[in-house]
Structure formats: structure tokens, C-alpha cells
């Protein structure tokens, strides 16, 4: 943190300014605007509309696909909630993972434990293809939050944001949840805890309550008093569901900030072939990307050193790339090839700044 701050202080404001002006002059290269290549087309895309339809399709596929016998397996790196029993098209990896880790140790640490690795390998393969774009483009719970944000906009209410200090503290919650998710089942397997504490994260996760609702299933909306473990977990789960509903109304992508799946993703995100890159020399630190970021990720704007700019909270929604006015400052690379980048032209189009023809 402090290194980054110091570095930023070291870059004199005037130098940045000059750099920006130079960029402005070399600005719109005519061949980029006129030759309508595929790349050009993608760079000019209306990301908001594209995301809306992509997310809607993914939502329908995951939340209703099971009714059409679509089965994407048990290791999806996104909240295709397994409690949406009748209709889910696959199962969120966190559910089988917690089950598997709760096996008796004698089994878990034997050859039979290899099935855990098998499930994990499938999870990793799915994940590596899209990296955290699973969150920004596919996760049904993320999509629901975006819809709730849309609702707030209609009410004309302003959104909330965290102060730097709050951000710094809250960002660790997802790692705590990840530890709970991994270690509580292990304690159960080691006979140190009762099975009443089984699948602890699922009991807390608002997706368990909210996603089945889209199939008219309210069976998860309750508190289970059959044992202390169940009671504590389900009561917390209901409370968190309340927080989720209000939170996503007040703050964009409220829950993603606390999501252990996001933390789990981040551990492996360096391995992915799908990358969010920043070219610090082209950035003018105008802060546009930071302002559009639902997750309030500051380094996206003020870090001009790091190339691999994907942060742990990032959901790879690519809003920052679409909002950046500088040619090539932010870009998405797949297998080392740039598929989408910030361009002056795309920025102008999205902002409605293009001259009428």
C-alpha cells in the first residue's frame, strides 16, 4: 500500500498532465474508426447492454436450466445454488466441497479422498476459462444485485460507498468466511464438531434463500431449531438475507465484497488465461474507472505500476475498461491476445460524444 502511495506521489502531477495532452494529440487514428474490424466493433461495444443480456441469459440457464435436463455438473465456480433443487442447471462448487471436506479423516486422507481433488480439478478448469468474469457476467446472485441496483436507480436514490478505512477492514470478511467454509467441515470430519454444523457457509449464504424463490420455492426461508448448530446457522442465514436485500439496494454489488467464492477465485486467478491488464504509462489517473467500479477498487485508477491489475474484490465486469477514455490504458487479454481494450473511439461512442454523420 505505502509503496504504491509513495510511487504515486513521486509521479509529479504535471508530468501526468503533459502525458495526457500528448495522448490527446495523437488521439483518434482515422484507420481505427473507419476500418470496422471485429476488434474495432468489440472495442466500441455498448457494454451495459451486452452485459444485461448476457447476465439474463446466464441467469435463465442456471436458475431454470435443470427443468430442461441441463446439467453442468457439481463444480461450477459460481452461485448456481444447489438448494434450487428442482431447476438448477448445475451446482455451486462450495456445496459439494463442504460435503467432501466433512468426510471422516480416515476417508478424506486415504485414496477415497482423491475424489475431492477430482471435483476441484473440474472447478479449476471451469474457472480458468473465464476467471472472475464468472462473477461479473454469470453469477445469478450477482445478477440479482445488479437488478436491485437498477431498482434503486428508478427510485432516484443515491448509492452508498465505503470510506477507505471501512473498505480496508471489510475486505477481510470474505477470507474469514472462506476459512469457516474450509475448516468447519474438516473439524466435523475429525469428529470435533457435530454434523449439525455441516455445510456452514451454505447455511449463511443468501443465495440459498433467494435463488429458489425464482422457482416459487420458499422452503429455505426458516429457522431450524432441531439443534444448536442448525439454529445458529439458519438464524444467521436469515439475518444475512435481510442484510443482502437491503444492502444491495443501498450499495452496488453489496454482497460480492463479502463473498468467499470471490476470495477462493482470487487464489487461482493468476493461473487464468483471461486477464485484466493495465498499461500504466497510458493512464492519466483521471479516475473514471474507479468511479464506475461497483466494488470501489482504487488501484484500478491509481496504480500505474502493476500490469496485472485484477484485484481480489474485482468481478471482472469490465465496466472500467469501457469507461476509460485513454487508448489502450486498460485491456482484456485472453491467451495473451487483446480482445477488448479502452479506446478513445469506444469511449466517445459510449458517452454519446460522436459527431453526427
Amino acid at each position: 500500500m505505502s509503496v504504491r502511495k509513495n510511487l504515486n506521489r513521486l509521479i509529479p502531477f504535471m508530468a501526468r498532465r503533459a502525458h495526457h495532452e500528448r495522448n490527446q494529440q495523437s488521439a483518434v487514428r482515422p484507420e481505427l474508426v473507419e476500418g470496422l474490424t471485429l476488434k474495432n466493433y468489440i472495442d466500441r461495444i455498448d457494454l451495459r447492454r451486452f452485459r444485461f443480456w448476457f447476465q439474463l441469459s446466464a441467469f435463465v440457464l442456471l436458475v431454470y436450466g435443470g427443468r430442461l435436463a441441463i446439467d453442468l455438473g457439481n463444480s461450477l465456480p459460481t452461485f448456481a445454488c444447489g438448494y434450487n433443487k428442482k431447476a438448477t442447471a448445475g451446482v455451486c462448487y462450495l456445496l459439494p466441497l463442504q460435503h467432501q471436506l466433512a468426510q471422516p479423516w480416515s476417508q478424506l486422507f486415504s485414496l477415497a479422498g482423491l475424489t475431492v481433488l477430482g471435483g476441484f480439478a473440474v472447478f479449476l478448469l471451469w474457472f480458468l476459462v473465464l476467471n472472475k468474469a464468472w462473477c461479473g457476467f454469470i453469477c445469478p446472485l450477482g445478477t440479482i444485485q445488479d437488478w436491485i441496483t437498477g431498482l434503486r436507480k428508478r427510485f432516484g436514490l443515491r448509492y452508498g460507498s465505503y470510506s477507505d478505512e471501512q473498505f480496508g477492514k471489510l475486505t477481510y470478511i470474505k477470507y474469514v468466511l472462506l476459512l469457516v467454509l474450509l475448516f468447519v467441515p474438516l473439524l466435523i470430519g475429525g469428529r470435533l464438531l457435530s454434523h449439525d454444523w455441516g455445510t456452514p457457509y451454505c447455511q449463511l449464504c443468501p443465495a440459498r434463500m433467494i435463488i429458489p424463490l425464482f422457482n416459487g420455492d420458499v422452503s429455505q426461508w426458516l429457522i431450524d431449531f432441531s439443534s444448536t448448530g442448525r439454529m445458529v446457522l439458519t438464524a444467521l442465514g436469515m439475518f444475512i438475507t435481510g442484510l443482502f436485500l437491503m444492502g444491495s439496494f443501498l450499495k452496488k454489488r453489496f454482497f460480492c465484497f463479502f463473498c468467499p467464492m470471490s476470495a477462493f477465485h482470487y487464489i487461482f486467478s493468476k493461473l487464468s488465461l483471461f486477464k485484466l491488464k493495465k498499461e500504466g504509462s497510458k493512464c492519466t489517473v483521471c479516475g473514471d474507472c474507479y468511479r464506475v467500479c461497483d466494488l470501489q477498487i482504487k488501484p484500478i485508477a491509481d496504480d500505474v505500476v502493476k500490469q496485472d491489475i485484477l484485484m481480489d474484490d474485482c468481478i471482472l465486469c469490465l465496466k472500467c475498461v469501457a469507461a476509460c477514455p485513454e487508448q489502450g490504458a486498460l485491456r482484456v487479454d485472453v491467451l495473451g491476445k487483446t480482445v477488448f481494450e479502452s479506446t478513445k473511439d469506444g469511449f466517445a461512442k459510449r458517452m454519446g460524444l460522436e459527431k453526427p454523420k
Binding site: V91, H99, L193, D196, W197, F225, M238, L243, F244
Partner: protein
């Protein structure tokens, strides 16, 4: 569906007093408990796993109750197995630890039905006793997008007498029969419904109810409310000191400790539906500890220290059906005037989760969550707005 001819034949049975011959049934608890050490608890009860395939072994028991039935030797028996694809085979009946035993592999997901049939003539009556077991093979690792048709019960077209448990609404491989559920059994003879058969359901604790099958061959029972966790049954109980008699349980595979400790019984749960109602007959306490204490009744000794929560607890029942038919003939050279058909199968049931769940409290907690954050955020935002302060200047 229902053939009038068969009906006339079978109706004749109703008023005839039934024979006192003890029934046969199949148990998945071996006579020698040490055999259970290699077994794993699965969705279909205890199984052995050989080369990654579930193998089920069942032992023959003779008697009318779960706790008081002795293990029985094979006698003039045949064994039929109906697999998940409704294919019938006739594996051999084995003998082990002083009991008839049958063993089969369950490679596919779905229900396997095992039928063990004995025939013998006694006092001019041919006794045809069929012990049935309906065993589910389901492994969560194989996913849950299985064909829902696999949940439907299989039937043996040539069954002398068969009890078919009709499925609960929306039943799937994870559905458990629970206190309060209405259980429906269809009694069938060679695939045809049998009217007026006596159907008897006895729970592990000895609560008994009887009903008669109606014109569609169906007898219904509401499952008794008798499985409740004890007061001190909380998540921490597993951390408490093991009690005497529990130690041996703990040595085995962890997965085996499926059954709980103390239970509270209630008299008024099980009512028969359809057919003539009958009163509960509670057996005397002593009966429970009949000769084979320790099999289905083993839970008595594990002191409430099961590591499975209230949700996992279960108890068993035995459902049996019988009827007499005026069919004359000869079996193995012995003439008979009547045939006494009987059949029995076991099942398990769990506590009614609804009694320990609260939807309204759930909603209150969710609302509390919303309010806390809503009010909190509003107050926080308000406090950050600095109130306007008028600054007065002395203009004189």
C-alpha cells in the same frame, strides 16, 4: 387396473381368521455385529463397497416385530431381484452366521427390490411368505439430475403378495419419510391390487396399527410423532464425555453412528386412514428388549451422543400384509385347501422437521437484518450531513 375376477377371489379372504404364522422379513443388520465394521452408511442403509460398487447384504428374520425377531435359516426358498431397470434375476440364497442371507450388487442409481419367498404346507394350508426389501442406491457424487422415473417403486409381476410403498408428493432420492407423513401402501398379488388384506405397521418402539386395503388395494398410515431429540440434545453434545456403553460404537466407522439416544414417545400420532380404524396397542416395555436387543434397538445404548444432528435421526418400522385365499391344490406332493399369503418389508422414518422449524421467526430475522442495515445506513448518512449554521455579523 383392477380385475373383478381377482377381486371376488380375494374378497373371500376378509372374514377368515388369519393364521398365526410369524412373518418373514429382511434386515440389513447382520447377526454378527462385527460384520458391520466394514460397512458404510449410505442413502439406502448400510452397504459394503467393493471395487467402488455398492453391495447390499440382507439377512432373513422371522417374527412380527423389528426388535423381537430371530434370524432364520433358509428353507425351500427362492430369491428374486428386481433391478433399477425392472429386470428380474434369481440369484442364489446364501447362508451365513446362522441365517439365510442374500447379497447383491447395486451398480446403478435407483431402487433395487429383493424378494425372498418360502412355501410350505401346514395343516392343509399353503403358506407363501415373501420377505421384501426395497433398497435405494444413491450417491450424491453422481449428481442429482437423475431421471425422476427412477424414484417410482418397482413391482414384481409374479409376486405372491407384495407391498408397494407409493411415493410421497415430490419425492426424490433425498426425501425421508417423516412423522406426520401419510404413508400409502398398495397391496398386490401378481401385479393386481388386493382388497381387504390386513396391513399392519409396527414401529421400532412397538407401536402397532392395522388397516385393511381398500378397493384399490391401498392402506394408509399416518406416521407417528415419536422421534424427538432430547432436551440436552444440542450441537455440543458430541463434545461431551462419552458415556458407558458408547465406546464400542465409536471404534467403528464414523459413518455408522446413525442412530440416536433417548426418544420421547407420543401415543396419538399414527392413525390409520381408509379401512377400519383400530386402536394403538402399545407393547409393554419389556417386549422391546426381547431376544435380539441391539439390532434395530441398538440406539438405546449410545446415550444420545450421536454425531448426527436431529435432522439425521431416524427410527424404523415394519409393515406387513396377509390374506387367505380359498385356492386348493398341491405343493410338493402335499394337498392344501387354502393359501395363506404374507409379506413384510421395513422402512425408516425421521422426525418431522416442521415441528422444529419456524418460518415466521425466519421472516422476523430477515426483516431485522433489513431494518438494521436500512436504519443504520440512513442514520449514518444523516450524521454526515453538517447542519447549516447561520453566521450572524454585527452590521452596526
Amino acid at each position: 387396473m383392477y380385475k373383478p375376477a381377482a377381486m371376488t377371489l380375494l374378497c373371500a379372504a376378509i372374514s377368515i381368521p388369519l393364521s398365526a404364522e410369524a412373518g418373514l422379513w429382511l434386515s440389513d443388520q447382520p447377526p454378527d455385529k462385527s460384520l458391520m465394521r466394514d460397512m458404510k452408511r449410505s442413502h439406502g442403509g448400510y452397504v459394503l463397497i467393493e471395487d467402488d460398487v455398492y453391495v447390499k447384504q440382507l439377512w432373513l428374520r422371522k417374527g412380527d416385530s423389528l426388535t423381537g425377531s430371530a434370524y432364520a435359516e433358509p428353507a425351500g426358498a427362492s430369491f428374486s431381484l428386481l433391478d433399477t431397470r425392472r429386470q428380474l434375476s434369481e440369484p442364489a440364497v446364501g447362508r451365513g452366521n446362522g441365517a439365510a442371507t442374500i447379497r447383491f450388487k447395486m451398480p446403478e442409481e435407483g431402487y433395487y427390490n429383493a424378494y425372498y419367498t418360502e412355501r410350505a404346507v401346514e395343516n392343509g394350508v399353503l403358506n407363501v411368505a415373501t420377505a421384501k426389501a426395497e433398497i435405494l442406491k444413491h450417491n450424491c457424487r453422481l449428481g442429482h439430475n437423475y431421471d425422476r422415473k427412477l424414484v417410482e417403486p418397482g413391482r414384481w409381476q409374479d409376486a405372491p403378495l407384495e407391498i408397494v410403498r407409493l411415493r410421497l408428493p415430490d419425492e426424490d432420492f433425498h426425501t425421508r419419510i417423516r412423522s406426520g407423513n401419510l404413508l400409502k401402501f398398495s397391496v398386490q398379488h401378481q401385479g393386481q391390487p388386493v382388497r381387504g388384506a390386513t396391513v399392519r405397521l409396527e414401529t421400532q418402539k412397538g407401536w402397532i396399527n392395522t388397516a385393511f386395503s381398500d378397493e384399490n388395494g391401498i392402506a394408509s398410515f399416518q406416521v407417528i410423532q415419536d422421534t424427538f431429540p432430547v432436551d440436552d440434545d444440542d450441537g455440543a453434545r458430541f463434545l461431551s464425555k462419552p458415556q458407558a456403553g458408547e465406546q464400542s460404537e465409536k471404534r467403528g466407522d464414523e459413518e455408522k453412528e446413525g442412530r440416536p439416544g433417548k426418544w420421547a414417545g407420543q401415543k396419538d400420532g399414527l392413525q390409520s386412514e381408509g379401512g377400519k380404524p383400530s386402536k394403538w396397542q402399545a407393547k409393554k416395555d419389556g417386549d422391546e428388549h426381547a431376544e435380539h436387543k441391539g439390532d434395530h434397538g441398538e440406539r438405546k445404548e449410545d446415550g444420545g451422543n450421536s454425531r448426527w444432528g436431529g435432522e439425521r435421526r431416524e427410527d424404523h418400522f415394519l409393515v406387513s400384509a396377509e390374506y387367505l385365499s380359498d385356492e386348493a391344490g398341491a405343493w410338493e406332493g402335499q394337498a392344501y385347501r387354502q393359501i395363506h399369503y404374507s409379506t413384510a418389508m421395513t422402512g425408516s422414518y425421521a422426525p418431522n422437521i416442521q415441528v422444529s422449524q419456524s418460518k415466521s421467526l425466519g421472516l422476523i430475522y430477515a426483516s431485522a437484518g433489513m431494518l438494521t442495515l436500512g436504519v443504520g445506513a440512513t442514520v449514518y448518512r444523516r450524521r454526515r450531513i453538517k447542519p447549516f449554521k447561520e453566521v450572524g455579523f454585527d452590521e452596526r
